[in-house]
């Protein structure tokens, strides 16, 4: 069942141009030239109930703007969004009770008070039953491993701890839909991993629909099976993550370690040499020719070690980004 449906969403911002230096500032006092930036242009996609999708794109692609429109913070310039029968920017309370948004760079907790106070406030705001609330907080605190930090002022928490608290606060009312805007930004690898594991588990348990944006491919690979990629405000890819490599030409990487005496240049006959690290050479080969190329190399060269890998997802996505910029 489709729970989120986005159709031809568009958002334009007006801003003013200012020439550099003091002279520009003075000119702006009298005459300002208005410019229009299309942050999001014609984006359409839909999300099934219980699905986790990754919303990807380089900085300034329009990810956050899209999420803001989906959560009703911004009015779109044009287009429609239907979330479980609601139009987000009408900001109906009934709608607000169904979702939550966590922004990695903003906080919703009271800075000077312990996180548990903010949790309780959310319980009151969303009118969650006492027993229900207790159970939820205990369960989530256990999962996120923050039980001992509940009574510490938020300002004394580390970034990772605070992020976990933010996520916990957002889940008190058991939202059906969760928007996560870079929830792992600035966190160390272990904290990232923990938050990732938690989200994975939570989605499996509660069947919460999640839209996630992140710059860490690992987040996306671990959590999402589907990705929606936007670049410069336009949708450039909507499909399974595993198909992205396919789209980018189905390349495999062969890492070959040769005997010290062999000339790495010899390998260029078998495919595109990507990298030479001492005696190790990374070769790009199309998937169909993999078998043939590999046996050729093994037969003709003094190979010591041999390894086949996928092209990293990051690379394929970077290619998608670049391709769109070029066109």
């Amino acid at each position: 069942m489709e729970i989120i449906k986005v159709e031809h969403l568009k958002k334009e911002f007006t801003y003013y141009k200012k020439a550099g230096g003091l002279k520009g500032s003075f000119q702006n006092l009298f005459h300002r030239e208005a410019l229009v930036k299309e942050a999001v242009k014609d984006v359409s996609f839909s999300v099934e109930k219980g699905e986790i999708i990754g919303l990807l794109g380089p900085n300034g692609a329009g990810k956050t703007t899209t999420l803001k429109m989906l959560s009703g913070i911004l009015y779109p310039t044009a287009g429609n969004v239907d979330i479980d029968g609601f139009v987000p920017w009408e900001r109906k309370n009934e709608f607000k009770r169904r979702f939550s948004i966590v922004m990695g760079q903003k906080n919703q907790l009271w800075w000077d008070l312990p996180a548990c106070d903010s949790f309780y406030l959310n319980k009151c705001i969303y009118d969650v039953d006492d027993m229900e609330y207790k159970k939820t907080v205990e369960e989530l605190a256990e999962l996120l491993d923050v039980k001992d930090l509940m009574n510490v002022q938020v300002r004394r928490l580390s970034l990772g701890e605070r992020m976990k608290m933010e996520i916990l606060a957002a889940l008190i009312h058991k939202p059906e839909i969760l928007f996560l805007d870079e929830p792992t930004i600035g966190l160390d690898i272990i904290s990232q991993q923990k938050i990732r594991d938690f989200l994975h588990f939570y989605n499996e348990q509660k069947k919460t629909t999640i839209i996630l944006t992140s710059h860490y491919m690992r987040d996306i690979e671990a959590l999402c099976s589907r990705a929606v990629i936007i670049n410069q405000g336009q949708l450039v890819y909507d499909g399974q993550l595993e198909d992205i490599n396919h789209l980018m030409g189905d390349k495999k990487l062969l890492t070959i370690k040769c005997n010290a005496n062999a000339d790495p240049e010899l390998l260029s006959a078998y495919g595109k040499v990507r990298e030479i690290k001492g005696s190790e050479v990374v070769l790009e080969v199309s998937k169909g020719k993999l078998k043939e190329t590999a046996s050729g190399i093994l037969a003709n060269l003094p190979v010591e070690d041999f390894n086949v890998t996928e092209v990293p997802l990051e690379e394929s996505i970077a290619l998608i980004f670049q391709k769109e910029v070029a066109s």
Partner: protein
């Protein structure tokens, strides 16, 4: 629990966290009082100041002591937070939850006021007792009760006044510095330093038409015994009138501002 009661309690908690900050801010009030006591002593000692100002020496002393306290009690500070919210998108967290921003701010503000109120009322009580014993102030229970009512209304009125000022942030992004100026001007014309009616009747009449005097000067002068029953009743009604008016002004500004916010991005 009602969410706004919860916000109220959290406001109290927050203000107790920052008690040292509050005590230090009281120091500035003490200096203000000392400077004025010297000034008025000099004026009343060397000239017929009473005839000019319309306040007897003991009245002006009581006023100086009390208005400093009342001005502190009604003072706000949330305008900076509102400005931050609007400028840096902190507003988002209120927009996505089923809460009313104005009510949220109001109850958080009241909660933050309560612990301060307790302490300041104690100090005010000491100052009033001092005034009764040394300055010949005549006081009745009724007057104290009316004063407390006027004080609560004054706090509410000042909240809505500054709420409207704070919402200007929707149109002018960086108004932080303006708040400093605006609040000094408002404190002065509210009678927070000296009574505004010392400038004569015409001036007093104009001030009576504006909301500012009802936050500080009006409650202070109730204690001072400068009003009869009718004047007190009128004053209380004016407080209510301005509260209602500014409440709706705030609502309209919020609605328009929010439309702008949602259009240009948070």
């Amino acid at each position: 629990m009602n969410p706004y009661r919860c916000v109220f309690q959290m406001g109290m908690e927050k203000s107790l966290e920052y008690r040292a900050n509050f005590f230090l801010s009281l120091l500035s009030t003490v200096f203000q009082i000392i400077m004025q006591v010297f000034l008025w002593n000099y004026l009343y000692g060397n000239s017929d100041a009473g005839a000019v100002t319309g306040y007897t020496y003991s009245q002006i002393m009581v006023y100086t002591l009390l208005a400093a306290m009342v001005s502190k009690l009604v003072s706000t500070g949330f305008e900076y937070e509102v400005n931050e919210d609007i400028k840096n998108g902190g507003l988002n967290k209120y927009l996505v939850r089923p809460v009313h921003y104005m009510s949220y701010r109001y109850f958080s503000f009241l909660g933050e006021k309560i612990p301060q109120l307790m302490l300041l009322l104690l100090i005010a009580a000491a100052l009033v007792t001092f005034s009764v014993l040394r300055l010949g102030l005549v006081l009745s229970i009724g007057r104290i009760l009316v004063f407390l009512a006027a004080l609560v209304l004054g706090i509410t009125l000042n909240f809505f006044l500054f709420y409207c000022v704070a919402l200007i942030s929707f149109w002018l992004t960086d108004v932080n510095l303006m708040f400093g100026t605006v609040s000094v001007v408002i404190v002065v014309i509210s009678g927070g330093i000296f009574p505004m009616d010392i400038f004569g009747e015409k001036f007093a009449f104009v001030m009576g038409l504006l909301p500012f005097g009802y936050t500080t000067q009006f409650p202070s002068n109730i204690i001072n015994g400068r009003f009869d029953t009718v004047q007190i009743a009128t004053g209380l009604l004016c407080q209510l009138f301005w509260i209602v008016l500014l409440f709706f002004a705030g609502k309209v500004m919020w609605k328009r501002g929010l439309h702008r916010f949602a259009a240009v991005g948070g």
